[in-house]
């Protein structure tokens, strides 16, 4: 059991996070503070929401490109409609409507993929372009800063507050609860439902999954609907943070989210991946981001470092496999030596 834990990808990511934290802390002691934790969590939350959705698609054996566009259409679309209605209430209605839009977009993806047997990557590449195009053309071309009155304070809605000599007043943002809820839901879905096991099964061997009686189309639909809903929640949350609504929200961020999911141990070829790994992957990405600012290393290095880490993480399973192949055959020998 302990052995298995140590060998797991999650544990490795966890170790890197701890090591990196210690190193940063040694260079800049200001790093060791509650405020840092709150800050990293706050920045991670929106990425975690997207990553949990993407994790499902990746385990299924695909890569969704379009979820970033869904965040934009869902948040920006809701906002432009609410502006017309002169809505001045809280953010909850935004979540409600945004989620509905995200659900529809996810359903559209799922429907097109299952109905016409389209490759996930290709189709979502198309819907990404289409959705960004839609939000720019039909909804508006520039970011909008007219927030409803009661939404203005959303970015500062904290569950706990801390005073930090370097950062100032900051806190644990309420959106951490969404991440917790989404994380538990996706974990439960993957582990305890037939649908979840079906997602792993399809990613492991699609043909056998079909023969075993999994409803592949239904499972694919469900995955994309969840992806759409989580993307929408992420989009509204982020817009609340930055206090403006943008038609090109998160544009170009899809591969960064994918990178976090892969860092977290999910296999790009499907069948493997966990919620906790994905969470750690996102945290690590944000930590690297933060580390470079705190240690004064130019920000351009962030991309480079994440790239290098990705290479290492992609290489680890391959190296293990290679080793297993090299050692594996002479079983009698190892029995004797053991």
């Amino acid at each position: 059991m302990f052995n298995k834990l140590i060998k797991s990808n999650e544990f490795l990511v966890f170790l890197i996070i701890i090591t990196l934290s210690i190193v940063i802390g040694m260079i800049n002691p200001a790093f060791f503070s509650v405020a840092t934790i709150y800050d990293i969590l706050r920045a991670s939350n929106v990425y975690n929401l997207m990553a949990f959705g993407l994790l499902l698609v990746v385990i299924l054996g695909g890569v969704d490109i379009s979820f970033v566009a869904i965040t934009a259409v869902a948040s920006y679309g809701t906002h432009m409609a609410m502006l017309k209605l002169d809505y001045q209430g809280g953010i909850w209605l935004y979540f409600l409507i945004g989620t509905a839009i995200g659900l529809i977009c996810g359903f559209l993806n799922g429907f097109l993929i299952t109905r016409f047997k389209l490759p996930i990557f290709d189709l979502t590449l198309a819907t990404q372009t289409m959705l960004y195009g839609f939000s720019l053309f039909f909804l508006g071309a520039t970011a909008n800063f007219d927030l409803p009155e009661r939404m203005v304070g959303y970015y500062g809605k904290y569950l706990a507050i801390t005073e930090d000599p370097f950062i100032g007043t900051t806190g644990l943002h309420i959106s951490v609860l969404y991440v917790l809820a989404a994380g538990i839901f996706v974990w439960w879905l993957l582990k305890y439902t037939i649908i979840g096991r079906g997602i792993y099964a399809i990613g492991g061997n699609r043909e056998v999954a079909k023969r075993s009686g999994f409803n592949i189309n239904r499972i694919t639909m469900i995955v994309f609907v969840i992806m759409g809903v989580l993307a929408a929640i992420s989009g509204v949350t982020q817009s609340g943070f930055q206090r403006n609504f943008s038609p090109t929200l998160f544009i170009g961020q899809n591969l960064n989210v994918l990178a976090s999911v892969i860092l977290g141990g999910a296999s790009i070829t499907g069948g493997r991946g966990t919620v906790i790994g994905t969470f750690l992957g996102v945290i690590l990405t944000q930590l690297i981001n933060r580390a470079l600012i705190l240690t004064g290393i130019p920000v351009e290095w962030q991309q480079f470092v994440i790239g290098v880490l990705l290479i290492i993480f992609i290489a680890i399973p391959a190296i293990r496999e290679e080793r297993a192949r090299k050692v594996g055959h002479t079983t009698e020998l190892s029995e004797e030596q053991a």
Binding site: R197, G204, N205, S212, G213, G271, T330, E332, L333
Partner: protein
């Protein structure tokens, strides 16, 4: 036992004008073990697909438990208790053993949630039924072929199988694993589960089946009790011609001159240790041992794929080093891998390209361009020499049958004119007709002066072709047999004795 478990009557099936099955009838009793034998293309795969409902016969009737099916669907077939274990075992490589075993059963109950305790109990119950133990938490993809096969069998048992059909179940198994499998099949038979065993390994056919049905060109040519059958008859009925194994006798090896290859104290961590032996010109040297004895590692080591950690290798008296595949090929080593399909051929590429690939640099003209004419000549020459059955060298390699693919791999290496040819399981999965042709070819090559290392656990094969046979056990050479001074029985005993000493 009034009613037969399965009866197929007058089954005929055509594909695009080719008759795959022609008026075939047979039946299987409860708890009976039947062997369905035939060369590639004899119609046995078609027959299985008809019994499992994948194909519908053009004419004929199927009865399962006395129920008449004119058009059997895959679902009906499964509900009637027919389970087919295909060669890929239909597993999820990323999931645990427990889940792999239980998942179909859970799905069939229509449950929405997974109760992990139930999953494990169900899996354990299944494994107990065939009396094997595999760790339930192991990931299926990391297990050996034998274990994955056992998982597939367990799945079938849990699905209340009355008849289990196994397609070439022993292809990738070691002798010990085959014995274990046969015990399980016997057990199942005693519990009333019938088995149909599709194979072309003749000794196994005799060992496991109570009854043997032989198909040839879509017709049933034999159906009788296995105990009255001898291998000669089976061979004759399968191929329709006499296979004269005794004609392949060859013993002359040039042991007086210096050895072609001499290996001293060769070591490979986790692979083998302290190996020393010699290979002479004109010699076929057999290397046998169970899977995991280090025999494949040795082959890969000489071929530079798993370079040895220490030890000396002499080629024609000169000390050489083999650090990578290029070192090996440039000095005249050729290797025909065990998994020829994956490691040996570019399946979608043409036959010609496959033959030419290993000597591509010698086929260039003055310029850097490929000499197409020379390439075609070379290819046509080998296609003819090795009797590869194809209408044209332009066809992709995957269009060939198993035996012909094996010959193509040989052609690819022979085109290089190797001094030493390493063959790893040269006739695994090859039917009996092609097998004897391959043996003949190996002997011809040896006569022409090549030194051949043949790695195999097929004892009759070793006895027919090798001058000497080295037995490996736990990474060491433990015995050497001279062909004339040993018997198949002795060799078989020694091979299996490896295990009994240790358990």
């Amino acid at each position: 036992m009034a009613e037969k478990l399965l009866r197929v009557e007058h089954i005929t099936k055509h594909f695009a004008g080719v008759t795959a099955l022609d008026d075939v009838s047979f039946s299987v009793d409860q708890g009976e073990s039947m062997c369905l034998v035939g060369e590639n293309g004899s119609g046995k795969s078609t027959m299985i697909k008809i019994i499992s409902g994948v194909y519908t016969a053009d004419s004929g009737d199927i009865f399962i438990n006395g129920n008449h099916y004119k058009k059997l669907t895959p679902m009906e077939s499964m509900h009637a208790g027919v389970q087919v274990i295909y060669q890929d075992f239909s597993l999820f490589p990323n999931l645990t053993v427990a889940e792999n075993i239980s998942i179909s059963e859970l799905l069939s109950t229509g449950k929405k949630m997974v109760n992990w305790k139930e999953v494990k109990e169900l899996a354990q119950e299944g494994l107990d039924k065939i009396r094997v133990s595999i760790p339930l938490d192991a990931i299926a993809g990391t297990l050996s072929t034998a274990d994955r096969q056992l998982i597939a069998i367990t799945k079938a048992i849990l699905a209340d199988a009355r008849l289990i059909i196994m397609d070439e179940p022993t292809t990738a198994l070691t002798r010990r694993e085959v014995e274990a499998l046969f015990k399980i099949i016997n057990d199942l038979n005693n519990q009333g589960v019938a088995t149909i065993f599709v194979s072309h390994k003749l000794n196994e056919v005799r060992q496991i089946s109570q009854r043997t049905v032989i198909l040839r060109n879509g017709k049933k040519v034999l159906d009788q009790d296995a105990k009255d059958l001898d291998i000669k008859t089976i061979e004759y009925q399968m191929t329709g011609r006499e296979i004269n194994t005794s004609s392949i006798k060859y013993s002359k090896s040039d042991t007086k001159s210096a050895p072609l290859l001499k290996v001293e104290n060769l070591h490979l961590l986790h692979g083998f240790f302290d190996l020393s032996f010699e290979l002479y010109k004109n010699e076929v040297l057999g290397i046998t041992g169970l899977l995991g004895s280090g025999r494949t590692e040795l082959a890969l080591s000489l071929f530079g794929q798993l370079p040895a950690d220490s030890g000396k290798i002499y080629l024609e008296g000169k000390k050489i080093r083999i650090r990578n595949i290029f070192d090996a090929t440039s000095r005249g080593f050729g290797y025909v891998p065990e998994d020829r399909i994956r490691e040996g051929l570019f399946l979608p590429q043409s036959i010609t390209d496959n033959i030419a690939v290993s000597i591509i640099d010698t086929l260039t003209t003055v310029s850097i361009f490929l000499d197409k004419k020379a390439k075609k000549q070379l290819s046509d020459n080998w296609i003819e020499k090795l009797n590869v059955k194809t209408p044209s060298g332009k066809l992709p390699a995957k269009s060939l049958s198993g035996g012909n693919q094996q010959r193509l791999v040989l052609a690819k290496w022979l085109a290089q004119n190797p001094k030493i040819l390493i063959l790893n399981g040269p006739t695994v999965g090859v039917d009996v007709g092609s097998k004897s042709e391959i043996h003949e070819l190996v002997l011809t090559l040896a006569r022409q002066g090549m030194g051949i290392l043949m790695i195999s656990d097929d004892i009759p094969e070793l006895m027919q072709t090798c001058n000497r046979i080295l037995l490996m056990r736990r990474g060491k050479i433990v015995n050497e047999f001279i062909r004339e001074k040993t018997t198949e029985e002795e060799l078989a005993k020694e091979l299996v004795a490896t295990d009994s000493n240790n358990h």
